[in-house]
Amino acid sequence: MANPLDDWVRATLPRAVGYARALLRDPAAADDVVQDCYTRLIERADRYDLPRDGLKILLRSVTNACIDRRARERVLLSLDGDPDDPTGGVVDRNSPDPPQEAIASELAGRIEEALAKLPVGQRAAIHLTGLGYTLPEVAEMIGTTHGNARVLVHRARKTLEADLGPFLFGDET
């Protein structure tokens, strides 16, 4: 007999995966993070009403996992890096790797490039804002204060507007 959480997993998975991939820029790693987060949440399913509140809890969990992972990666690469190669010999992991469908248009490519420039905290904040969450919700999901969330969103906006302004305001030269 199917588990009643099947429907909830299927409904929320695309959003969780899209979000994790945006934060990590590494589809395989993002998928692993998302799977771990679902597994942990499902193990505690008796404590939550997942169909009602699960998406927010899930996105908060994905945020924390992605930020931790990025922090850990920096340590790993510095341990493993070549002193003569500041990138550690590793291909730039911040380079855009969006699905092919998303880079079909130049605008999509520009958005990806602009998002890739952002530190992961700003990326999380603007991504969640873009999804329509309010500042207090964003603050809760990325585990910070309301004020700090506002700063993160503001800085992310400045960077994105600088890069995307010509597209947004129609004065591309």
């Binding site: 699905p99 958005i111 999804l131």
Partner: protein, 325 residues
């Protein structure tokens, strides 16, 4: 999936939202959904209702002599059962053989493995308590290590080569004749497959099964080496077998460390089963192109440097020193 708040007049957010929507729609989450859903527990089958159906038929009454014959038949049946029925240990042995058969299916299994050194000793220094995922198929295994939410992997391929990913684009290979004692010990510990272990348990251990409250509950079997057993590294094992599939759901081993005589408790918990992905048991299959692999023929000194940063003072325990020419 709908957005929590719509619409927005903010041009930046509108563009961003459209972009995120398109990305969500472009993501193929099918394989990942299957992985996640396969870990969901199924609803247990309800216990069969007690045999207390009220019958509408009138009760038959039997002559007294038939009761006498019935009693004799029952007594004879009980006697036969006592003489010929398998003992508790034999039943436990049968259960383990069924579990062995279940493990022979051509699939790969993912175990959540916790390794916990029990006391003072080398193992406690080299190997703090750690939980990791181990995928096993045939003689190959790979270990997905984690610290916090970061993971990397190492494993042993079909040729006995141990490999390690030191970053997504960089990996090391260590051939069987280059592997130091510490690496061999860890490979033996992490690569210990329940499939192999079951046959050793059957050959060398006394078995005891816990009583079960009902037939839908897992079978729990305890194993301890017989006095005559030569399998001295195993102190005890506890197996939890699925009532329906007969497969090993959980295996807890208390084992002696060859290196220092201390004990380590290793717990395997089955969390996933799926068709074998052979490529994932070799180094190439765990790296992202373009990648660089170091081995005895490609920059061997660079390999030592990288490994030294990874395992610190235990380098020679992992990789034998290069013989001087």
């Amino acid at each position: 999936m709908s957005h929590p708040e719509r619409p927005t007049d903010d041009p930046l957010l509108r563009v961003l939202r459209d972009h995120l929507d398109r990305q969500e729609q472009a993501v193929d989450v099918g394989p990942l959904a299957a992985r996640i859903l396969s870990t969901l527990p199924e609803r247990p089958n309800p216990e069969p209702a007690p045999h207390a159906h009220p019958s509408s038929r009138p009760r038959r009454t039997w002559p007294a002599w038939t009761v006498g014959i019935g009693s004799l038949t029952l007594a004879a049946s009980v006697l036969l059962l006592l003489v010929f029925a398998p003992s508790a240990e034999v039943r436990a042995e049968q259960a383990i053989r069924e579990a062995e058969a279940a493990l022979r299916l051509p699939v790969e299994r993912c175990y959540l493995v916790e390794v916990r050194p029990d006391g003072d000793g080398t193992a406690a220094d080299v190997l703090p308590t750690r939980t990791m995922r181990v995928w096993a198929a045939e003689d190959k295994f790979r270990v997905e290590m984690s610290r916090g939410n970061f993971r990397w992997s190492w494993g042993r391929d079909a040729d006995g080569v141990v490999w390690l990913t030191s970053s997504p684009q960089r990996g090391l290979r260590i051939a069987p004749d280059e592997q130091g004692p510490g690496l061999l010990w860890m490979a033996e510990l992490y690569g210990l497959r329940p499939e192999t272990l079951l046959s050793q348990i059957l050959a060398h251990c006394r078995l005891r099964e816990d009583p079960r409250p009902g037939s839908n509950y897992p079978r729990v079997i305890h194993a301890e080496p017989r006095a005559t057993a030569r399998q001295v590294w195993l102190r005890s094992a506890t197996l939890e077998l699925d009532a329906e599939t007969k497969a090993v759901r959980k295996l807890t081993l208390k084992r002696t460390n060859k290196a220092d005589g201390g004990t380590t408790t290793v717990t395997f918990t089955l969390i996933d089963t799926r068709p074998v992905e052979h490529a994932r048991y070799g180094l190439d299959g765990n790296l992202v192109e373009p990648f660089q692999i170091y081995d005895r023929d490609v920059q061997p000194e660079r390999r030592r440097e990288i490994l030294a940063r990874w395992v610190g003072p235990h380098l020679d325990a992992w990789l034998k020193p290069t013989p001087k020419k």
